[in-house]
């Protein structure tokens, strides 16, 4: 295996494009090195992106917040401004693994690992995040929900890397939240999770995005669940409709972490709770 540590995105793309064998991107390594250890993969080339300046910073611009692909989840939690602007996203990112894992893991890594239970992904989908993808010939910006196509599968083409995540500017009177269920308090993988972002106008929900994790082959964006609460003040009837829409949308599997029946029911409970937190954060009563 060859290890390369380029200093520009262009150089990283060139290395990945040129390699004839199996090439992998290394950010935090908390999934990649596990897969190497378990002999699930045998890379010919590993490209470390942590030396690339464009991938290392968190920057606020006129259009939103740009988070470099190599920024660790611990750094997200230490960024007071980001925590205040997108608390749901930061909470989700900080739920991944232990302090040891937090020091290395990244949201883009979480995305590209493409687990249906990836914690940061539903929160980012709810937040209407986009990703900047750089390839050999062009650079494109894509909605985050277009990236994961199945368990462990993404829509990225060979040689393409994600350079950054773009969170939109937070509109006034808006809030987000993410909740996951695990049978313990730390160090576990989501059995079910829900991320919600919403915007109010005079106490009424003007727009919303609802995304669910660990209840289908990919994290799910559920427009029907968003429609269930838009136009409401998040009264009991709206919460009921939200829960029903979430349960309807999910296509979970039975596994050691939870049954189909359990996940289908609990997803509604989590969505209701997350919606209440987001509503409060948006300044709703």
């Amino acid at each position: 295996m060859r290890f390369e540590s380029p200093t520009t995105t262009r150089e990283a793309v060139a290395l990945l494009t040129r390699e004839r064998g199996d090439a992998y991107v290394l950010a935090g390594g908390t999934d990649l090195l596990v897969r190497m250890k378990l002999d699930l993969i045998e890379p010919d080339l590993v490209v470390d992106i942590k030396g690339i300046a464009a991938m290392q910073s968190i920057r606020t611009t006129a259009s939103g917040t740009r988070i470099g692909a190599a920024v660790s989840c611990a750094e997200l939690g230490e960024n007071k401004k980001l925590k205040k602007t997108w608390p749901g996203v930061v909470e989700a990112a900080n739920l991944i693994g232990s302090d040891q894992i937090q020091g290395r893991c990244t949201m883009v890594g979480n995305l590209c690992n493409a687990s249906p239970a990836a914690d940061s992904v539903p929160a980012l989908m709810a937040a209407a995040a986009k990703v900047v993808i750089v390839g050999k010939k062009k650079r494109r910006t894509v909605a985050i929900e277009k990236i994961i196509t199945g368990p462990g599968e993404t829509s990225l083409a060979r040689g393409e890397v994600i350079e950054a995540i773009i969170l939109p500017r937070r509109p006034p009177k808006s809030g987000d939240a993410y909740l996951r269920f695990i049978p313990r308090t730390e160090m576990d993988i989501a059995v079910v999770s829900a991320g919600i972002s919403l915007k109010l106008e005079r106490g009424v929900i003007k727009s919303a995005r609802v995304a669910l994790g660990a209840v289908a082959a990919t994290p799910l964006l559920v427009p029907a669940a968003a429609r269930a609460i838009v136009g409401s003040k998040l009264d009991d009837a709206a919460l009921e409709k939200l829960a029903a829409a979430c349960s309807n949308a999910c296509k979970p599997i039975d596994d050691k972490r939870g049954t189909i029946e359990y996940r289908t029911r609990v997803v509604g409970v989590l969505a209701r709770r997350a919606a209440k937190i987001a509503y409060q954060r948006a300044g709703g009563a």
Partner: protein
């Protein structure tokens, strides 16, 4: 693929080693540098026995490549004491019998130090969350938590 030369700083000393490019930092530290205080438990980032700090940040050395340490600063359990004088965490671990087989202890010490550097007066809950990435199969954690509390108290006095 040939080994590459890595120049790093470990526990304050400049250290160089050559390692294959797919070797973990855990293996480099143990097998090339001889720092066997870094333990291998799971090798997949779940148990924390291989905890070190890399540029001041707590990480599992089993999830870092040896080549990634080039130009970086590492602290291992060997760097905790001041010569023969043990670190307060080490003293309190002994006083409170916070170890039995000892395999997890170096990782716990490094993780506890990282926690106290950030939060000198943690609650029991904060200690338990802060050490959630370290597994001990002997002590039941209670003595470890008490040792960390006692060390924190002593360190605040200074």
């Amino acid at each position: 693929m040939p080994s590459v030369l890595v120049s790093t700083t470990i526990n304050g000393d400049a250290v160089e080693y050559a390692c294959p490019q797919d070797e973990t930092l855990l293996d480099s530290l143990r097998d090339r540098v001889g720092l066997t205080g870094v333990k291998e438990g799971c090798g997949t980032g779940d148990c924390g026995a291989c905890s070190i700090t890399l540029d001041g940040r707590l990480v599992c050395s089993c999830l870092v490549l040896g080549v990634e340490a080039n130009g970086r600063e590492i602290t291992t359990v060997e760097g905790l004491s001041d010569g023969d004088k043990l670190h307060p965490l080490q003293e309190k671990f002994i006083e409170h019998a916070a170890l039995q087989c000892g395999i997890c202890t170096p990782g716990f010490l490094i993780a506890a130090k990282a926690l106290l550097d950030r939060n000198p007066n943690p609650t029991v809950e904060e200690i338990r969350y802060g050490l959630a990435g370290n597994l001990c199969r002997c002590t039941g954690y209670d003595k470890i938590v008490r040792a960390v509390q006692a060390a924190a108290k002593q360190m605040r006095k200074k």
